[in-house]
């Protein structure tokens, strides 16, 4: 599962930073039928979480109401240099993970 993450490369300590993530995923609702009439099984990313230096700073429970290739944006406070680590899992048990470093000054 491909994903794109955007956070500032550098921030001042205490600064509120914008975190953006875009994940490639069909977010299959479970209500659609294929060309021959069979129901397509529901498969959505159900949990997306973000840890900042090991501490969870964001968690979202997604459901079938979220469109394909979900885009999520949230804010957190830059406290120390380190990594933001994103983890998500879909109904089929497929896991995705991405990591992005940030340098905090001051």
């Amino acid at each position: 599962m491909a994903a794109r993450i955007q956070i500032p490369r550098e921030a001042r300590r205490g600064e509120v930073i914008e975190v953006r993530i875009l994940i490639q995923h069909p977010m299959e609702t479970g209500y659609r039928h294929d060309d021959v009439g069979h129901l397509i099984k529901r498969n959505v990313i159900n949990v997306l979480s973000c840890r900042y230096n090991g501490v969870e700073v964001f968690r979202a429970d997604l459901s079938s109401g979220i469109s394909a290739n979900p885009y999520v944006q949230f804010y957190t406070v830059a406290e120390a240099s380190g990594d933001l680590e994103f983890n998500w899992i879909d109904d089929e048990g497929q896991r995705g993970s991405e990591r992005q470093p940030i340098v905090v000054k001051g």
Binding site: R20, L22, A68
Partner: protein, 260 residues
């Protein structure tokens, strides 16, 4: 003076041809509007946001594929083509392939390269790989105007494409021109009818919840007027794509566009 005369005549003929061509256009160049002009501000903003535009997922994948060796000869696209040489390429497609004299769109060109140069299997139409590669190639022409050549061997394809564009089809007995030349800007249920330009394709459509080629969009239109959909890669689509390119001459490439 005598020598100058044939040139003058030629110039006059060219001018007349130019005027005739300009008169053939249902939408004059000054009134051309990209499909994005008919979107709501939210979708327009999404398209212009290089990060959040979902089509960029395909562009990124395309860049990876571009640099990945493939096929029996294990060469990558990037093994022959430099990034600089790809700028503007997509804006000139569909175009005549010099070697075969056939009309190629980007999809056909990619598959031709894979077969003849790389010894690789062709990519299926609407496959994630082909969408990714064509999106990446088109992205490199971002902002450049469409330049479609309809001279020489392309002329016959252009005429067929034009005929195809004006052909009434399906249960609704509509041609492309009935909506996109005569009624653009008006409402069709909740939608505003666009001018039907190809400059944002491959594009991410909300209705599809994914990326799709121009041919997929053409098929969607045909389905909408309850006409028979032709198979992907058929010559009629290709000729029509050439005509659409000429019709949109000068509009900037927007790939990956975001559409309703």
């Amino acid at each position: 003076m005598r020598r100058a005369r044939p040139r003058l005549v030629l110039a006059a003929a060219a001018l007349a041809a130019g005027v005739a061509l300009a008169q053939e256009r249902a939408i004059p160049p000054g009134e051309l509007k990209s499909g994005s002009a008919f979107l709501g501000s939210d979708l327009r903003a999404l398209q212009n946001d290089d990060f959040a535009n979902p089509g960029m997922l395909w562009v990124e994948r395309g860049e990876k594929l571009w640099r990945e060796p493939a096929g029996k000869r294990s060469i990558a696209c990037a093994g022959c083509h430099t990034d600089q040489s790809m700028r503007g390429v997509a804006a000139s497609y569909p175009r005549i392939d010099k070697a075969s004299g056939k009309l190629f769109n980007l999809e056909r060109r990619v598959n031709w390269c894979r077969g003849a140069r790389m010894g690789a299997e062709p990519l299926r139409y609407e496959s994630e790989e082909l969408l990714a590669l064509t999106a990446y190639i088109a992205r490199q022409s971002l902002g450049l105007p469409i330049v479609t050549r309809i001279d020489g061997a392309a002329r016959a394809h252009f005429e067929t494409g034009r005929a195809s564009y004006h052909l009434r089809r399906g249960q609704m007995n509509l041609s492309c021109a009935h909506c996109h030349d005569a009624q653009w800007g008006k409402r069709l249920l909740s939608e505003t009818i666009s001018q039907g330009h190809p400059n944002a394709y491959p594009a991410y459509r909300m209705e599809w919840q994914t990326m799709g080629s121009l041919e997929r969009r053409l098929r969607a239109c045909l389905s909408g007027i309850r006409a028979e959909m032709l198979p992907y890669g058929s010559q009629e689509y290709l000729d029509l794509e050439l005509f659409l390119g000429w019709r949109a001459q000068g509009l900037p490439i927007e790939t990956p566009g975001v559409r309703r």
